[in-house]
Symmetry: C3
Subunit: 274 residues, 3 copies
């Protein structure tokens, strides 16, 4: 595989986020709303959080992408996500689905599966455990796929085969975060390297990756390039922040600074053939 | 206009917040609850977040001001806001209305208009787009008044005429945030200068301005002075924080420090005749 | 009282949190979800926030402790808390109850009393005002026990007798935060010293103490030792953070760093006989 074109697309997508400031509509969990908004703003995008059925279509008429994140699900919020998915589909707005905690409860696994079918996301972004749990629920994997809470207990590499299967079945890109990130459209598999172990000691890093994925998919040539660009931005900013951080508190502050100060040219060296 | 008395009132209000620690009841959006509470605490006030209809009257019996912020609206929360507005009116508690995203959806524009009528706020605080959208919805302006999401796409100066119209019609002070802030009771127009472009790269700065407006109105001689004091505090702390910040993450941390360390005497030089 | 065994247990509990990474399920208020999750992660535990009735039992099957925090109550969330309390009791998962704002509204006082009976918490953790308000509501105290909003207006020492009464009546440990913290099982009273006045200028410090209490109770020999360990961790990290902070913004960032870098051996010197 010639990696050079993908590397150029990743740089272009990151630059385009700053230039076009895509409006990203988020229906996400309570824990990460603030950090997701701050990550989007620091990266040059424009966040919008809204869940009322009455206004979803008005807002998706002007949004450039939609994030559906099931981190603190309940029936009312899931109903909003399904409705938003419909509006987005009708308007051609790309959707990113973050199946937070899939495998940890029946509610989450079912919600993730049903949203994967109904909202037809451009990108499914989760950790290894969540992707394995979804693949198992879809009968695509015989792997033991339990998750422990919402944390990844499987490494990302172990979920690549399941991700390819899910990508083919669902017609979406699957992005797996981990020490190395893997992004696949079912055929091509890209790897993104970087980041820091401190990222697992701050809440909302996965959810922020999903928000950034939406911002980059909104402006990228393909969902694959957009998803890879977002993970490259996370990896680059995470590594820069960790160099200056003394712990997870200063890391979070430095991470937002690093997103803001990011030099998109550095992203090239984050992307590899898997 | 002699600006000196307004400048003195602004300094007095900021000092009074520290001395009296007014309890500010917030019914606000999910994204900014934490930062609003932290901003109020750093400035010397005491935050309270509560939305259950069953307890609104109990809490407004001891609160010094009420913030109604429609940033993540739905029917249940809007119902709570209307009820809280009634309790506040009956008890003489001043209300600050933040019409987040007015103009971006019918739900928001209608909610803002109806709250403006029903809750009779002492201060309406929004960005230029939101104020223009509300004025247009009230038939006070022929200006094209659409907003793009919840960000201001119009500058604050362009909304001053609309703000004066709204202030006269509604009998409230209108406070417009922007590169320069404008505060008007329909007659007098004060300008507040300062702040930093980094403030638009952190979520919740507008909502924090509304929370601080409530804290200052609670202790100021007039809503006009209270609203101007809050914007002067934002401008002063924002500028101090930006001098030390490397990006939006360190800005937010420094901003809370600057609010805490603020010398109220410096606020005088922030306030000008418009 | 020989304090040495308690001191050793406190150190052991803090080490065990890092080693075992207990999964702490939180049904908590909107304001503090992010900071609670970050505090748990920084201390080595694993946070989970979830409130949907449909998934509570699935999640409590794998959780090591449950936090019930009534900081932004409404009927739906209180219903979830009662149901989660039942699931936790059936599964032997220890519960920590944080009666935020008890005394400030009838809704909160009643919710706290009813949860104290129904969820049978291992630890009740609040500030002096909240503990006094609950004791008065239970007829255990003739003290004037009003709270002002959700802030403590009484010092913690003045609530020790009420806490002992509540602990005996309810069969739980009561942990009172304040300049000095007091932890009692109704018989023994431990004092924990440290922390910083800056902790009262940042939102969510009390709620974070409750989350840490759950994490430590999950791994400690007794709820008394677990509750004392959590307050010792707060005191130690708070004092370390305050030494480096310039205000509440940098304090919060430093506090998370200090939790992450904490040397558990230092906790011994935080615990005293009361």
């Amino acid at each position: 595989m010639d990696i050079a074109p993908f590397r150029r697309e990743v740089v272009s997508a990151a630059l385009a986020v700053r230039e076009k400031a895509p409006l990203v509509h988020n229906i996400t969990n309570y824990v990460v709303m603030q950090v997701s908004a701050n990550v989007l703003l620091a990266a040059g995008a424009s966040p919008l959080m809204a869940h009322a059925p009455e206004e979803l279509d008005d807002l998706l008429a002007v949004a450039s992408a939609l994030v559906l994140n099931i981190g603190t699900p309940d029936q009312a919020w899931l109903d909003s996500m399904f409705l938003a998915g419909e509006c987005a589909a009708r308007r051609g707005v790309p959707v990113v689905l973050d199946p937070v905690g899939a495998g940890a409860s029946r509610l989450r696994t079912d919600a993730a599966r049903n949203l994967l079918r109904a909202a037809r996301p451009a990108v499914l972004r989760g950790n290894g455990s969540e992707i394995l749990a979804l693949a198992a629920a879809e009968g695509l994997s015989s792997l033991e796929a339990a998750t422990r809470g919402v944390d990844s207990t499987k490494d990302s590499a172990g979920a690549v085969a399941a991700a390819r299967g899910l990508a083919r079945r669902s017609g979406c890109v699957v992005s797996i975060s981990g020490e190395t990130d893997y992004i696949t459209d079912g055929d091509i598999v890209l790897a993104v390297r970087g980041g820091s172990p401190l990222m697992s000691r701050v809440t909302g890093m996965g959810c922020s990756a999903s928000a950034l994925t939406a911002a980059h998919v909104a402006v990228a040539g393909t969902p694959l390039a957009g998803a890879a660009a977002a993970m490259a931005v996370m990896a680059e900013a995470g590594e820069a922040a960790a160099r200056l951080a003394e712990g997870p508190g200063s890391f979070l502050s430095r991470f937002l600074d690093a997103l803001y100060l990011l030099d998109a040219r550095h992203l090239e060296q984050r992307v590899f053939p898997a």
